[in-house]
Structure formats: structure tokens, C-alpha cells
């Protein structure tokens, strides 16, 4: 192991993570969650057309490689006249991807809230939309924290594909350093360590969030 290389490359790698990986993951996750809620509601809709749209979306997103999704957004869209810069393209592609995966989580979480909660909302006069936002979603949130944080951890690692569409992040930095030094094993291990650090911090955040949300729920 070339320790000098490890030391020299630590900051560039970390910087690639902090300036590329993390903002990309955060932005995509935030937008993806909103999308996921919409898709989950489509899937839960009693209207067969809407529900089919939701199902088809999830099926395509989850059934095809993320790499191809990135390709289509960045290199395919210009053919129909839409040309976006790398960062917007990456955020769109990852958001769409998160939307597909998280939709299933959100849907399951909504279904996990006892039917009696909807009924209580109904009896005190609430519209379904209001019941959803004030009663169901706050409870679904607790249930969906663990699976959503899995989705987020996967996303953090998946952002390494963004280098394909010209976004510089942690993994791209690692490739650059590896190409220069030929010590790909060392550099990749170091990158893995930084990913692991990020994920560990995330997991700690998840625990804190779960505790917070547990406050008002029976054990």
C-alpha cells in the first residue's frame, strides 16, 4: 500500500464527495421523494388508468439499469431538442430513479397505517386529501424512514455513475487519481472508505430521526 498516495489523495477524494456526491444525492433525494409520493398515490388510485401509469413507471425505472437512464436523459433528450447541462441532467435522472424505488416504500408505508385512521379522519369531517396530509403521512413517515434511508444509501453510491455524464464526484476523482498513479486498488479502497464514512454518518442520522419520530408512537 502506497501510504503517501493515500495521504495525498484523501483531500481531493473527500472534496469530490462533499462537492459532488453529497449535493447530488441530497438534491435528487429531495425531488425524488416528492415524485415518489405522486407515483405512490397514482398506484393507490382506484382509477385503473392512473394506477397503470404508476405501475408502468415503477416497472421501467426498476427494471432497467440506471446507467441507461442516465444515458437517455443526457444523450438521448437532445435528439428531441432538450439539452440540459450535466448537473441538471444528473439530478433529473437520479430523481426519476429515486422516484421509482421510493414510490414502493411510500406506498407500503401509506398502506401500513391502520384503516381506522382514515376512518377517524372521515368521521371528524376531513377530506381524503386532508386526512392524507395531516393524519396518514405523518404516521407513514415513521414506517418509511428505514427503507428510505436504504434508498438514500444506495443513491449515494449510485451517484458514481454521474461521471458518465460529465459530473465530477468522488468516484470520478478516484478514477482520475488511479489513472495517474496506476495504483487503482489503493485508491479505490480509499474511496470505499470515504463512501463508508458517508453511509455511517447517514445511518446515525437515520437512528436519530427514528428516535424523534418514535416519541409519540407506542412501542
Amino acid at each position: 500500500m502506497d501510504w503517501q498516495l493515500v495521504v495525498d489523495s484523501f483531500w481531493p477524494l473527500l472534496l469530490g464527495g462533499l462537492a459532488g456526491t453529497i449535493p447530488l444525492a441530497l438534491a435528487s433525494f429531495a425531488i425524488g421523494l416528492v415524485l415518489a409520493l405522486v407515483v405512490a398515490l397514482l398506484r393507490l388510485s382506484s382509477n385503473p388508468v392512473l394506477s397503470w401509469i404508476g405501475r408502468a413507471y415503477v416497472s421501467v425505472i426498476r427494471g432497467t439499469p440506471l446507467l441507461v437512464q442516465l444515458f437517455v436523459i443526457f444523450y438521448g433528450m437532445p435528439e428531441i431538442g432538450i439539452r440540459l447541462d450535466p448537473w441538471p441532467s444528473a439530478i433529473i435522472a437520479f430523481s426519476l430513479n429515486v422516484g421509482g424505488y421510493a414510490a414502493e416504500v411510500v406506498r407500503a408505508a401509506i398502506l401500513s397505517v391502520p384503516k381506522g385512521q382514515w376512518e377517524a379522519g372521515w368521521t371528524i369531517g376531513m377530506s381524503p386529501a386532508r386526512s392524507l396530509s395531516r393524519i396518514i403521512l405523518p404516521q407513514a413517515a415513521r414506517v418509511s424512514v428505514p427503507p428510505l434511508s436504504n434508498t438514500f444509501i444506495s443513491l449515494v453510491k449510485d451517484t458514481s455513475l454521474a461521471s458518465l455524464i460529465l459530473v465530477t464526484e468522488l468516484f470520478r476523482k478516484a478514477q482520475e487519481i488511479a489513472a495517474f498513479s496506476s495504483e487503482f486498488m489503493t485508491v479505490y479502497l480509499e474511496a470505499a472508505f470515504i463512501y463508508w464514512m458517508f453511509c455511517t454518518v447517514l445511518a446515525a442520522g437515520q437512528n436519530a430521526l427514528e428516535k424523534r419520530l418514535d416519541r409519540y408512537v407506542a412501542h
Partner: protein, 276 residues
């Protein structure tokens, strides 16, 4: 209470020929029901006989397949019309759907329900549970709603629990909060679905006592219950349901001491004397 007097007159709710199926399961087969102002109607019957379904039809949680409901001399809500609409092609169906929606909401806005498993909102405090309906739906100013809520909580002995979360309460306390949440809506009709059957026996009393007081104050109530003692003491009328039909109805004294129907007699025997 100030509104006690004007509750004791005329039929508040009339139900005629209510039918309801779940798939192939024909659960209600023509249920008639009349609830006068200030009445306490007890619905009894074996598990699966349709008690809950009757109750839920009264507040729109279920939409009957046929029959009509009339509230307080208001317009007749005719579920038959809807069934007819179903044959009437696309626009007929749409009108029917719209009507059903309006009907359901109309029913619901006159009544309030207390559930078997309380269904309190676990992420909100006791107070927030109680004022949710008044402030969010009825647009009562928060101040007013809180004031009323505190008054009601004090009445059921839970003034000091206003900031507790539901899981911090005992089962009996949870049910009492459920009752307060219903009262806070100031409904014309209170619906209870076995409010004590999920409770530990020594907690049953505290809930029944509150219900008894409400009855004495003149609230109109429909109560599904297995507490025959309570029905006997508090109800103005008892309905025995079996197989989706009201088999027998009458004053509690008559039903419990001298049931006209063999089925009623058997049911009472099984519940009151399980070991004989």
C-alpha cells in the same frame, strides 16, 4: 347542558330497507331503524350479524346498496337511486357517484363516531386530537376550540392529560378521549361501536359511566354493545340483529326478560350464562 331540552322531540334519523353486500356476502338484508331525538338505541347481536355495518351506514363510512336515510326532516337520501343510476349508462353512473358522495358527506356531518379501538391519532396530543375536527374542518377559532376541548376533557376526568400522547394513556382513558373527540364536533347523533370490548374488565366501568351521563344529558346515541347490563339500564330501545335483519326490537325490560323470538333467547342465554 343548555341544549338538553330541544333534543327530546321528533325522529332525528330514519333508515328504511338498508341493504349492503360485500362481494357475494349479503350482510344487511333490509334494516329499518328510527332514532328519536334524545333516544339511546342499543344494537345487540352475535359477531358477524351486521351491527357494525349498520352503524357505519349511518355516517357514510359504508354506502348502502339500497334503502333510504333521512336526517332530521331533511331530504331523503335514497341509495336506491344510485343503484338505478348504475344501469343508466355512463352519465347516469357519474351523477350517481356524485350524489353518493354528497350523501355520504351529509350523513357524516351530522354525526360523530367512537370506535372499538379508539383510532386516536397517535402523533397528536390529547388536546390536538380533540380540536383537530373543530379547527381544521369546522373552522372554529383555535381559542374557542381549545376552551371547549378543555371543558369536555375536564368533564370526563382527563383535564390533566391534555398534553399526553395517546399511547401514554390507559385503554379506558383512550376511549374517553375518543368520546371527547366526538363530542367536540357538536354532532346531532353519537355512534358507538363496542367502545368497551377491547378494554380490561376493570376499565369498562369508567367508559360506561361517561356514556350513561351523556344519555342522561339527552344526547342521541346509537350504541353497538355487548354490555347487556348497560343496554338494560341506559337504552331507550334495544334492537337484536341476526343475519343482517332486525329480528326483534323493544324496550330493554321486555327484550331481556321476555324475548319474543327464540333466536334472541338463545343469544342472551349464551352471553349471560356461558357455562350452562
Amino acid at each position: 347542558m343548555s341544549h338538553t331540552e330541544d333534543r327530546r322531540q321528533g325522529a332525528l334519523l330514519t333508515a328504511r330497507g338498508i341493504h349492503k353486500s360485500f362481494g357475494a356476502n349479503h350482510v344487511l338484508r333490509g334494516v329499518d331503524l328510527e332514532v328519536g331525538r334524545g333516544d339511546v338505541v342499543a344494537l345487540i347481536g352475535a359477531s358477524g350479524s351486521g351491527k357494525t355495518t349498520v352503524l357505519r351506514s349511518l355516517n357514510g363510512l359504508e354506502t348502502p346498496d339500497a334503502g333510504e336515510l333521512r336526517f332530521d326532516g331533511g331530504p331523503v337520501v335514497d341509495f336506491g337511486a344510485q343503484a338505478a343510476g348504475q344501469d343508466g349508462g355512463r352519465s347516469g353512473r357519474r351523477t350517481a357517484a356524485r350524489t353518493a358522495k354528497t350523501n355520504r358527506a351529509a350523513l357524516r356531518d351530522r354525526s360523530a363516531m367512537v370506535f372499538q379501538h379508539h383510532n386516536l391519532f397517535p402523533h397528536r396530543t390529547v388536546l390536538e386530537n380533540v380540536i383537530e375536527g373543530p379547527t381544521q374542518v369546522q373552522r372554529v377559532p383555535r381559542e374557542t376550540a381549545v376552551g371547549r376541548a378543555e371543558e369536555l376533557l375536564a368533564r370526563v376526568g382527563l383535564a390533566d392529560k391534555r398534553d399526553a400522547y395517546p399511547h401514554e394513556l390507559s385503554g379506558g382513558q383512550q376511549q374517553r378521549v375518543g368520546i371527547v373527540r366526538a363530542l367536540a364536533l357538536q354532532p346531532d347523533l353519537l355512534l358507538f361501536d363496542e367502545p368497551t370490548s377491547a378494554l380490561d374488565p376493570e376499565l369498562v366501568g369508567e367508559v360506561l359511566t361517561v356514556m350513561k351521563e351523556l344519555a342522561e344529558e339527552g344526547w342521541t346515541m346509537v350504541v353497538v354493545t355487548h354490555e347487556l347490563q348497560f343496554a338494560r339500564q341506559v337504552a331507550s330501545e334495544v334492537l337484536f340483529l341476526d343475519g343482517g335483519v332486525v329480528v326483534e326490537r323493544g324496550a330493554p325490560a321486555q327484550i331481556f326478560t321476555d324475548p319474543a323470538e327464540e333466536r334472541t333467547r338463545q343469544f342472551l342465554q349464551r352471553v349471560l350464562h356461558p357455562l350452562d
